[in-house]
Subunit: 458 residues, 2 copies
């Protein structure tokens, strides 16, 4: 199978999960994918959910004795507007400058098609491949994987037989510098609502006699960071697993400078906490961030009121060693204990999920009980990536959160190997999304090598 | 003239200045007022402005030798919606329970009609009254006295011949407890805009490496008050003229308890600064108030961003001894010097006007050069109010700002005698606005006594 031909065909079906008008496009997509799995040598099944179905492909499903890789991907795509900014139609894949342009080429049709093509090509050479592979491709990733957790629970027994999850839905620094993501931050969200007087008050008649809810809220919010940038909540850093020395050294290879980052963001100074530079802080350290704050008059000009209420939406990004429920309790306690008299406060918990970290093999902190198939996969990936891309992969953590990675671990016990096959130039979620053809082709070779290595045939 | 009959007739004309659809009502009102002044014995003039005209009434205009009172009022009224909450039509004055209901009965047609009726009635007894009176009734008070300052400037020479301004556009605690307002707070407004990164950022990918503009703004805003409630801006209280002992003693007569105030506002604690109780703080002390703050995600649920920008709208209420320009400079300097690295800040000046204070006669701090006509007016008011209402008037300051009072002083040198003829029950600006008939009738007697006293005939 030719990855470029496959991706071109695959992109034709507009599987925009956010818009019910594209139900036909979703159907066309999962039917195409099901057929593709069949052609590759797997047994496809379209598993209905309360939302879009999950496409499952099984190879050697009855061989419980073999190493077993679970491959994750998502066949749904982002909306395409503003359509007028696309240089070529989003659902007609177009090749130019060594890239394929089209919605889904990079996120995520191209990268997960790589895994199917790799199996097909490998089986052409080794029809008796001693490996079990289960493909799991969902259709709702772009709308929050709404029903994927239910699917996971329902298929927990089968999936728990897997050795690890292999996926490509993370980014790499460039076409020649491949990142293997070994950590993701978790999240804890909290909304703070402060209420003072029963209505907005005339600031002349009442100002000075009443605690202003905005003043109360801002005083408490301002107290949540120390002058050195750290979070000022008792116990916030308790148990935080700091990155190992090798990880920080590895990260120093990451091709991004503070100067470039400042220019990119258009700020005159970055932020950090003692002991870590700003780039490290965004990946290795937890945060307490104000996502939205509001209260009182929001229009132009002025309105001289003491507002009746104010709110702050807070999320913490968490790192390994922090528990979302514990952090929520500690942040809540700090807020409640610091709120001044004269206002009432209500805290509403929002989303929460723990951080994720998987240590590659052969490191000082590699767990003794690391799954051997996963260890072989890491080693194979490192070798083939170095060979094909000309640079050893960069093991890195991402600052964001991918809830399903932690879900896979919780439900099935599997860790994940995440290899990035798109870059910042791939414009995912934006007009003119594209995939670098050489990345896809080398990606197929990488997946083949991982399959062979896990099968013990390479 | 009968004040009740006059008010009933006067209310008929819907002079809503905020709504151009009521231009006819405005015209009907100023024509009625002009005729009323004529009937009372004054020479009326409808003085055009770029907005609604000012109705001027002159009595003894050529007698520059006589004591000269300038009487201020406004003939425009607030809109009437929600109309369905009115028990009787707003522009058909209705008498019940000793009150007249209708838009403008209390704010301000009734109270300034009192002054015209008082002159008419007094002239009926003393046609040769040795007093000069100039009535100045504007038609744009409810929309910010937009063109009144131009009128003042244009008539500065004539008005500067006045001894003082007499008006009734402030409130009293109850029908039997009349407040004479001797102070008003000033104002200084400032908008703070903070900008960080050039767009909202993914809080996972960038959080921890970038100063969050909301964090920066809230840390600076939180620094603007000390733990004891005072404003933490160097020099903020410099020159503040604290109230004299007699003033605080006088204010202790004010029939409002902290417990009632807490219930009214529905808060469990009030606010104050050392040395002053909350009720005093709202009248005698300056404030720094957050009228509106916003930034980042304002919708329901959560959006995990580091926002690109944030704003705060701040106003300070000022007291005598503080200069708006000086305070603006000091607050601006504090904000700029405390803003952390990584954000840009822009300050936009908003409105500003100084506080106002006039000391009654016979007090330890009465100025030696107090205008003798004004002193006589205060004395007459005190005497007649005590006699008619059964309680001595309460000299008090209001926490709000009335810009034209300071304008009169600045342009003409005149101080103001402000006697309140409405109460909280009068529902000004709300449905079922009403005036207490006994207050209006005793008000006429009060104005007659002041006229006579100034004329030296009582």
């Amino acid at each position: 199978m030719n990855i470029v031909e496959v991706v071109k065909e695959y992109v034709k079906y507009p599987s925009i999960s956010a818009d019910p008008a594209f139900a036909d496009g979703v159907k066309g997509t999962y039917e195409f994918l099901s057929n593709l799995l069949k052609k590759a040598g797997a047994v496809p099944e379209i598993v209905p959910t309360r939302g879009n179905p999950v496409v499952v492909g099984r190879f050697n499903a009855d061989r419980k004795d073999l190493p077993h890789i679970v491959i994750y991907g998502h066949y749904d795509v982002q909306p395409v507007d503003p359509l007028e900014l696309w240089e070529t139609p989003p659902f007609e894949a177009t090749e130019r400058d060594g890239k394929i342009f089209g919605r889904g080429t990079a996120d995520n049709k191209g990268p997960h098609a790589v895994s199917v093509v790799a199996l097909a090509n490998l089986l052409a050479r080794r029809p008796d491949l001693p490996l079990r592979v289960t493909f799991v491709f969902e259709g709702e990733e772009e709308i929050g994987s709404t029903h994927f957790r239910e699917f996971l629970d329902a298929h927990a027994a089968e999936l728990s037989e897997g050795d690890f999850v292999l996926l490509s839905d993370t980014s790499s620094p460039s076409e020649n510098e491949i990142a293997i993501t070994i950590g993701l931050r978790g999240m804890m969200g909290l909304e703070v609502n402060v209420e003072g007087p029963n209505s907005d008050l005339h600031s002349g008649l009442h100002g000075g006699a009443v605690m202003n809810p905005l003043q109360a809220l801002m005083e408490v919010c301002a107290s949540l960071h120390n002058a050195d940038g750290t979070v000022n909540v008792p116990g916030f850093y308790d148990g935080v697993q700091e990155p190992a020395a090798w990880e920080r050294e590895e990260f120093s290879r990451f091709p991004q400078s503070e100067e470039d980052y400042k220019k990119f963001l258009d700020v005159d100074a970055l932020y950090n906490i003692p002991g870590y530079n700003p780039l490290e802080c965004a990946r290795f350290m937890p945060t307490l961030e104000f996502n939205g704050v509001g209260g009182g008059y929001q229009g132009s000009g002025s309105k001289t009121i003491v507002p009746a209420k104010a709110f702050a939406k807070i999320t913490c990004r968490l790192v390994p060693g922090q528990d979302p429920a514990d952090i929520r309790e500690k942040v809540s306690a700090a807020i409640l204990s610091r709120m001044p008299a004269g206002v009432r406060v209500k805290l509403t918990p929002m989303q929460g999920n723990p951080a994720y970290f998987v240590c590659p093999p052969n490191r000082p902190n590699t767990p003794a009980d690391m799954n051997p198939a996963l260890a072989r996969a890491f080693e194979a990936a490192e070798k083939i990536i170095t060979e094909k891309f000309g640079n050893a992969p960069i093991y890195t953590r991402e600052g964001g959160s991918i809830g399903i990675i932690e879900d896979f671990r919780r439900v099935t016990g599997m860790d994940s190997l995440m290899i990035g096959f798109f870059t910042a130039d791939s414009r995912i979620h934006a007009p003119n999304e594209n995939a670098d053809i050489s990345m896809l082709e080398k990606g197929v070779a990488t997946y083949e090598a991982i399959f062979e290595s896990c099968a013990g045939t390479r």
